[in-house]
Each structure stands twice: as C-alpha cells, then as structure tokens.
C-alpha cells in the first residue's frame, strides 16, 4: 500500500492571508469592519473579547466573546466591504 505522506504546504507569493493566525485574522477583521479602533489593537484580551461580543451581537451569532468556530467561520466568510460599525 502507498505510504501516507505528510502534505507539503507552500507559501504562495501574493497569498496574503495564508500565514495569518486566527487571532491576527480576527483582529484585522474587527478593525476593518469597525468593531475596534487603532487604540484597541493590542494584546489586551478584554478589548478583544468586547470587540468579539460586538461582532457576535451585530451578526446574530452566539455571544460568547470567544474566537470560537462559529465566529471564525463568519470571519472567513466572503462578505461586503462596507463596515458594519461606523462610517
């Protein structure tokens, strides 16, 4: 039988999101769509939790304040670029 091989993942040039962690992805999303401001872009867990709750409320997701699977799926979903909060 063929031996199962470990898949090789490659960094594709121009593939911007490939190397972002879930948290980085979420932070970028929260900022882009108006849930956080520049001042909140730090390592503060509370500000992330509050921003996630705002997002979850706005998108009618379960309000866990966590970067759970449902929230991550929502963040990865294709969407409109108009911010959800603010101008």
């Amino acid at each position: 039988a063929p031996r199962p091989r470990q898949p090789t993942f490659v960094v594709f040039p121009g593939d911007r999101q490939a190397n972002l962690t879930d948290r980085q992805l979420a932070e970028e999303y929260l900022y882009r769509y108006g849930y956080t401001h520049v001042a909140e872009m730090n390592e503060d867990e509370d500000s992330l939790r509050r921003a996630l709750q705002r997002l979850q409320r706005r998108l009618a997701l379960p309000e866990t304040g966590e970067l759970d699977t449902t929230t991550l799926n929502a963040i990865r979903a294709p969407r409109c670029g108009v911010p959800d909060v603010g101008k």
Binding site: A60, P78, R79, C80, G81, V82
Partner: protein, 601 residues
C-alpha cells in the same frame, strides 16, 4: 434593518446608473442583465426607477477594480471582501465597486456559452465526463484539430451533447474583422505572434490579427475570454493555466489542491511553478454578480447592513436561487422611499350589472361598461364591491359601495396562483376554483373572478398549469397526473400524463411554453420536455434541465407560462421574465405577480 447615519437617501426617484467597465469573467450581456435584475428587485418594492446611462453624470457608477482602485478602500484579492458601495449622494457617493479578483458568475460556476456543436448554444456543464475522465474546463482531448470543446451535460459519454468553447480560433469580438478568427502566426510591428497579445494596447485587452500580417492589412479583433481556465487571484490574475506545469518537481495536468491547506484549487500560469512562481486560483463556483450587486445597490440606495442573517443586507454572502429580498430588506427600503405607488385609478364602473353568463363571452369589453356589461370588473378604489362573501359574481352590485372585498374574490389578495396562462390573448389567473382575466385593451383591467366550473366544467378546482396551443387553439389544462384538452366547448379528458409520454417520475406539469411548429415545452420541477401537439406525445429523449436553457431563473418554480412572447417563471409571489434574442434566453425583468402583472396597489 439599518439605514446610514442621517438617513442618507436619494431625493429623486428616477435613479440613473452607468456600467463603467466590465469583468471578463462573464459575457457582457450577462453582466448587464445581472445588474438590471438587481435593480429590478428594488424597483419592485419602491417608487424608484433605474435607467441605464452612459456617462459619469449617473447617480450610481458601477465599476470593477482590484486592490486599491482609487477610492482609498482597497480590495483584498480573491475571496474575503467582494464588493462595496457608498451611500447616496454626489460624486463617488452612490457608486458600487466590485472586486475583479473574484470569480464573478451567476453563483454556480463559470458561464461558458458554446458555439456550433449539437447543443444549441447551451452553456458548458462543468465538471463533465468524457471517456470516463472528469473535466472541469474546456478541452481539446478527443479532437485532432486542437479546437476547445465541452459537454453541455454532466456526462458526454451518455448524452453526446457538446459545443465548442469561446476561442480565438473560432471567432473574435469587436475590432474590424467581422468576428473572423485569429490567424496564427501573425505579424505586428515586424514581430511574429503565435497567440493573442496585449502588445500595442494600454488597456490590457488581448487581441490578434485576423490575417497573417496586421501591419499590412490592419484587420484585428479581440480574443474571447477563456473563463473556464483563466485564473483569479494569486499573482497572475487573468492569465491562463498552463498544463502541464511542474510543482515541487512533479508534473500536474489539472488544477490541484497540493501545497495549500485551504482546499482551494490552483494552477501555475507558466510551465514551471518552481522556477517562475506564477500562479492563480482555478475557477470555482464563483460569486453571483446578481446577488452581490443587489446587496451593494441596497447600500447605494441608503441601506446599511442588517443583523438578520436571512436578509439580503446581511454582510455575508450566501447563494440562493430564491428571490433574495427579505421582509427586513423591504421594510428598510420602504422606510426610506415608501412602497410602490398604486396604479392609476380605473374609471368608475357604475353600471347596472347583469347576471354573469355561464361562459365568458368571447368579445372583450374595452372601455368602461355602459350598456351590456358581460361580467363585472374587479372592484377598484371606486368600483362596485363583490356580490357575496363566497359565491360567484352572479348578482348585481350590492348597495354598500364601501364594503370590503371578500379576500377570496380579490385577486390582489392572492399570494400564489395555482396557474397562470395566456388564453385568447389574455392572461388568466387560476386559484382554488376561480379565475380572473387580465385585459390590456383600453388600459390594464382585471375581470373576474369567474368560476372555473362554469367555463370549463370538466376541470378540478386546483390546476397546476395550462396553455393554449397557438395553431389549433386547443387549451390544455394540467392537474396532478391528469390532463384535459378543451377544443371550444368539447373536452377530451381527464387523461393520464402517461398518454402524453410522461412517466410516473413526472408528478405534475408545472408549466408550458408554446414554441413554433406545434411544439410546446412542458415543465416539471427542474426539467422540461418537448411536446408535439399533433401527436400529443413528448419526445422522451428531450428531457433537459431547466437551467441549461433558461439560466438565471429559480429552479423551484411552481408555474411557468408564456405571455406576449416572453416566458415567465413564477416562484412564490415573484416572477422572472425571460426574453429570447438570437436564440439566447435571458432574464430581463424580475417582478411581483400582483404588483407588476395585475398592477395591484
């Protein structure tokens, strides 16, 4: 729903739009059509009208762009952010921008029309099977002339339906060569070209000469887009996959997921990825331009994002074949602009009505009834009320002119009709044993309700569909697995659908479209058959998926009819109107049955 801060809105109702440029993912007429249908959704529920213009003065400028495209809000490559739009106002306000690094489609994969072959121009079906192998793009396999072809059904080996794919070897567009194909090699500025080129142009469009020497003959055309194998995203958007290509020392002849952890199919756009690092994503289902445009136009009209996941204005994309407007969307837009205006009041019909004859007369009443009203018109704002709560309209008008209509009598209260059909050049609306007739002579007017049993006594209360055969004037009625055929007052039936050659897999006939030479297309669920009126049989080999010939209509339509030479596909309260030009069927309007056809308030 939410509106933008300050309830930004247009202060005029005749909104104009300009399609500034196009994506190459879809034929231009399909893009035009998608935008028109998206606007039609909003105009169906507001007093707004949308007119296409050709200049910057338009209220809504529609543009395809990539990355930073001039407004300070850059797109992000494939997936993620799809489009954006600005709230109403002058300048860039009201404009809608679409990320051209997405694959734009009608939501179900690339749209590749075919030419010649034996499929009457039907679109390619991807993937399709040929000699046991699956193909997700047009191929030259099986041919010795290197012409690209595809199957128009899922299985070529079984169905043998095919057509040739858009190719510069088949034809060119625009230019000055009458659509003649490219001639390779051709000479341009002393250089020889063996493929389409963008050289000599600043707009990136690929072109070729249609003779061997452009410098001498100056004949050229633009090369058709290979939507089936043009990559999106990556670092080679717009280029073609090159097969085979080498990746990590291994050769690939199709798109692959190797090397990626997101499952996306990709290919190299040169023969060696390891050396050139040029790549892009292979075509997938794509995003429905119609749905995304409908959402963006919501912004352009003043709606902000909704928190209702089922609403069109929810920020995330999801594909649906149904009318995407949710009650929340309608409430939102009507908060800004109000609802669709009521139709002009009809002339008062103050008549002394006579009892209705058992069968409607064949003579139309064209003006307000004055002497011999043969049937009572539907009550308008000032018209007479119906006679009784449940009975047929047999008595004269009641004394109380302000009494409300019984909902069963009021055609405008019917949400979904059982069947709609054009009979004797008038549209008939059937519901629960009653029917109404739409007369367009002397202004649009609805007559009825009449009892089906009074006119066609053999029929059941509940019909699925009906049609009149234009040559013989026979009227076919369908209900469940039964069919009745009326010729004047004589009736044949009920007969089982088996008599027509429709087997037990056909539970009901949901619609019919008369065609030339005594042929009719009979629909059931997601398929249709060609029916010969003379032999009264369907061609059993003619079963065809609806979306193969009528792209852009919902698949779960419950009624299909023809009216004034256009096809109507009804789903819920809405209809998709399809016109046929040059044998290409295209949705040209989406509307409400009651508002748009019956002109209900």
């Amino acid at each position: 729903f939410l509106t933008f801060e300050g309830d930004l809105k247009w202060h005029h109702q005749n909104i104009t739009y300009w399609i500034q440029n196009y994506s190459e993912d879809l034929p231009r007429d399909v893009i035009d059509d998608a935008f028109a249908r998206a606007f039609a959704l909003w105009s169906a529920v507001t007093p707004l009208t949308f007119t296409r213009v050709y200049g910057r003065e338009a209220d809504i400028v529609i543009q395809f762009g990539v990355r930073e495209h001039g407004d300070g809000y850059p797109f992000d490559g494939k997936d993620g952010l799809l489009a954006h739009a600005f709230p109403p106002g002058a300048g860039i306000q009201g404009d809608a921008h679409f990320d051209d690094e997405e694959l734009w489609s009608l939501g179900k994969g690339v749209v590749v029309p075919t030419y010649f072959g034996n499929a009457n121009g039907a679109a390619c079906h991807f993937p399709f099977t040929f000699e046991g192998r699956s193909y997700s793009a047009c191929t030259t396999d099986g041919r010795s002339d290197d012409m690209l072809w595809c199957s128009t059904t899922a299985d070529y080996d079984t169905d043998h339906k095919f057509g040739f794919c858009p190719s510069e070897r088949l034809y060119t567009r625009d230019g000055n060569a009458d659509g003649k194909p490219c001639v390779f090699p051709f000479t341009f500025e002393g250089r020889s070209y063996s493929a389409c080129t963008t050289d000599g142009r600043s707009d990136g469009y690929r072109w070729c000469a249609t003779t061997a020497n452009y410098d001498q003959d100056k004949l050229y055309g633009f090369c058709p887009t290979r939507a089936d194998s043009t990559v999106t995203g990556g670092n080679s958007a717009g280029e073609l996959c090159v097969f085979p290509f080498t990746f990590l020392g291994k050769e690939y002849s199709t798109c692959t997921r190797e090397g990626r952890n997101d499952g996306h199919l990709w290919c190299a756009t040169t023969s060696n990825f390891d050396r050139d690092k040029k790549w892009g994503f292979c075509p997938d289902q794509g995003y429905s331009l119609f749905l995304v445009a409908a959402h963006e136009f919501g912004h352009a009209l003043g709606l902000d994002h909704s928190s209702v996941p089922e609403a069109l204005m929810y920020p995330m994309y999801s594909y649906t074949e149904e009318n995407p407007l949710h009650e929340d969307d309608v409430k939102g837009i009507q908060y800004l602009y109000g609802s669709r205006p009521k139709p002009e009041p009809q002339p008062p019909t103050t008549t002394t009505a006579e009892p209705q004859p058992t069968a409607p007369p064949t003579v139309c009443v064209t003006g307000p009834p004055t002497t011999h009203p043969s049937e009572r018109p539907t009550a308008g704002p000032t018209g007479p009320p119906s006679a009784g709560p449940t009975g047929p309209p047999t008595a004269g008008p009641s004394a109380a002119p302000t009494a409300p209509l019984d909902p069963a009598q009021d055609v405008c209260k019917v949400e979904i009709f059982d069947a709609i059909a054009e009979i004797r050049n008038r549209l008939h609306f059937f519901k629960d044993g009653r029917y109404w007739r739409l007369s367009e002579r002397g202004g649009r007017r609805v007559q009825g309700p009449f009892l089906i049993k009074n006119t066609w006594p053999a029929l059941p209360r509940k019909l699925d569909s009906a049609f009149e055969e234009p040559l013989t004037k026979k009227i076919f009625f369908f209900s469940g697995r039964q069919v009745w055929v009326y010729t004047g007052e004589s009736v044949l039936g009920p007969r089982r659908l088996d008599k027509l050659g429709l087997g037990p897999e056909v539970a009901q006939v949901t619609g019919a479209l008369p065609r030339a030479e005594g042929k009719v297309l009979l629909f059931s669920r997601q398929s249709f058959w060609r029916f010969d009126v003379k032999t009264q049989k369907v061609d059993s080999r003619s079963a065809t998926p609806v979306d193969q010939m009528f792209s852009g209509v919902p698949l779960n339509t419950h009624d299909i009819f023809q009216y004034q030479e256009k096809a109507y596909f009804c789903q819920d309260r809405f209809y998709w109107r399809v016109s046929s030009r040059n044998e290409v069927n295209q949705v040209d309007y989406v509307g409400y049955v009651t508002f748009d056809l019956l002109q209900c308030p």
